[in-house]
Amino acid sequence: MPPREGIYGMLAEFNTPSELVYATQQARAAGYRRMECYTPYPVEEAAEALQFHTTRVPLVCLLGGIMGLATAGLMETWINVWAYPLNIAGRPLWSWPAFIIPAYEWTILFAGLSAAFGMIALNGMPQLYHPVFNAPNFRNGATTDKFFLCLEATDPQFSLAGTRSFLETFPAVSVVEVDH
């Protein structure tokens, strides 16, 4: 856990996604690793520049789906075979074709809830406070029309003057320090 005081990072603001992606690629080439882009809509090229490829959301979703299928299947079997057996027109107690439908629905239910809540949890949300909100220009642009690159202070490559002058080589609208 990094200390929650002092400088969080250096935040550069760009007008276009192209400038952001270029700056991110260059920052990576210069050895920066702990950095993040903030954009008003998903920019896949920025994720590529950050070398962020895989997420665990599909895995969480798959596990949820398997859990839903198992839960519903076992529940139906236990209920209709042992807990409350009923003779319905002489059909077998374990009528698995009929059990498919609720099991199918619960597979989707559990998988869907896992995907949505898994995404929220993996993103560390809800997190109402974050240092980047302290930057004076962040809230005016990051969710509207501006593109941000934040080089974080925990990166070994980070230094106040060096990182600032590095970011100022790009056509950034502004480069500001972000405090915790």
């Binding site: 998903p42 950050l50 997420t55 139906e76 629905e105 509207t144």
Partner: protein, 476 residues
């Protein structure tokens, strides 16, 4: 397709001759201002109050009707033996069918990369949720003892009583409750980035706090976006089989029974197509006045209306095939009961319902929607959307009532006549739907801002810097 409209129409893309999905000249800022402005303004339009009051006023019918129902029991309705299913089931199937277009737009069209859907998916999803709310009311109040409706769910109880999973009615509980849950989750998840935008643009402290809380602290981080996109695609992939299964399961409520007119294998596909047909009609009924009232013609363009009309044409044709196949099978099966049921459906005492259905679901829409001129004629489309919604209600009326009221033994024949309470509760749900929809357009972003931004030409990432020679086109 060649350009047929005026050549200088700025809404027509000269390359394809199609209407543009978004009017030219928009940028990230203007899109945000336009959509967020509707929610964050302090000047609520008077028309909004009027609409909310009308919706709320009509919804009181539902409150009165349901109160009287709880006091008196289902005897106040027109349901009898043999017509044991009436308005409640008709309305249930009608409402839930309307909801299906929302999921189709948000899930299936996302998987097919139909980006035009981005303008209309949010309010189509809202429509889904409110329609499911209206639909869910009916089976619950139809069970006779609604205060025991929770018995439908499997839960441990001192009576040692459990559901019977070989019954389609138990399947229904699982299908509809899953559908409602997943629709709400998908809808909310899609709004998280937009809540972030609203939080950052709100000036009133209460709005800031409320949207900030709902946004869960969204800050547009790229890693978050990638996980978000991944979850969106997964939910779309899950919602697609879900939406097809829900109306299939509802059709099983009928098809599993051994009653002429219900016991057919064509029911699942024909119910799903009918659901999408009526759902798109309802999206048009809502979208046409909203885009006019809030001046959203730039984002919900004629392209959207044209495309939705095309989907209606396709699904309407499937429905028409279903009607034809029902008649054919009544003859080809050589079953005396099937044949009589079909004759009675067409020429019996309630035969007028069948002919209204044929006129409103097939004759009027399926003859006119072939014409591109009529598909982009807003007034005509609005008229067609009302016609199709009426027709789809009559379809459920015909399926439910005319199959039931004259069954195998002529001595047990009856008839069906809805009472004023049936009408009151039905009209009341329309009021509830309107009321909820008016609240939605005022307090939530009705068009997804981030998804509209993704369709703008400015999203193209070009190679910049010293070694730039080629332009990388965005592929998505």
């Amino acid at each position: 397709m060649a350009t047929k409209g005026p050549i200088n129409d700025p809404m027509i893309d000269p390359r394809t001759g199609e209407y543009a999905v978004i009017a030219p000249g928009h940028n990230f800022k203007s899109v945000t201002q336009k959509i967020a402005g509707i929610v964050l303004t302090s000047n609520t339009p008077l028309g909004w109050f009027f609409g909310l009051m009308v919706g709320g006023g009509v919804a009181t019918f539902l409150v009165i009707g349901v109160t009287w129902l709880f006091l008196k029991g289902v005897g106040i309705w027109g349901v009898t033996i043999p017509g044991a299913w009436g308005f409640a089931i008709i309305n249930f199937v009608w409402w839930i069918g309307i909801g299906h277009a929302g999921t189709l737009i948000s899930a299936i069209l996302l998987l097919f990369k139909q980006t035009w859907r981005n303008s209309i998916n949010r309010f189509a999803e809202a429509m889904t949720i409110f329609a499911v709310v209206c639909a869910g009311t009916f089976p619950l109040i139809h069970v006779g003892r609604p205060w025991l409706a929770y018995w439908l769910f499997p839960y441990p109880n001192t009576m040692n009583l459990w559901p019977q999973f070989r019954s389609p009615l138990a399947w229904d509980v699982f299908a509809v409750s899953t559908y409602a849950t997943i629709s709400i989750v998908f809808w909310y998840m899609g709004m998280i980035p937009d809540f972030g935008t609203l939080r950052d643009r709100a000036t009133m402290p209460l709005a800031k706090a409320a949207y900030g809380f709902l946004s869960l602290g969204w800050r547009g981080s790229t890693r978050h976006w990638i996980r978000y996109e991944s979850a969106s695609l997964l939910l779309a992939g899950l919602s697609t089989p879900l939406v097809l299964s829900v109306h299939t399961v509802i059709s099983f409520d009928f098809a599993v029974a051994s009653l002429p007119g219900w016991h057919t294998t064509i029911f699942p596909p024909y119910f799903v197509a009918g659901a999408v047909y009526s759902g798109f009609a309802m999206v048009l009924t809502l979208a046409i006045p909203i885009r006019k009232f809030y001046h959203l013609e730039d984002m919900v363009t004629l392209r959207h209306l044209d495309n939705m009309a095309k989907v209606m044409l396709a699904t309407g044709s499937i429905v028409a095939y279903g009607y034809g196949m029902e008649v054919f099978m009544a003859w080809y099966s050589a079953s005396h009961w099937e044949f009589f049921m079909m004759w009675n459906r067409m020429f019996g005492p309630l035969g007028w319902g069948y002919w209204i259905l044929i006129a409103t679901n097939i004759v009027i829409p399926l003859t006119s929607l072939w014409s591109r001129k009529l598909r982009v004629n807003v007034a005509w489309l609005f008229f067609i959307s009302i016609v199709v919604n009426t027709g789809m209600w009559f379809e459920r009326f015909v399926i439910v009532v005319t199959s039931l009221y004259r069954d195998f033994l002529p001595s047990s024949w009856g008839t069906y006549k809805a009472t004023k309470w049936d009408y009151m509760i039905y009209v009341g749900t329309m009021g509830l739907f309107t009321f909820l929809f008016f609240l939605f357009v005022r307090f939530l972003p009705m068009i997804p801002m981030s998804e509209i931004k993704m369709m703008l030409p400015q999203t193209k990432v070009k190679r910049v810097g010293p070694e730039a020679e080629t332009v990388i086109e965005r592929t998505v």
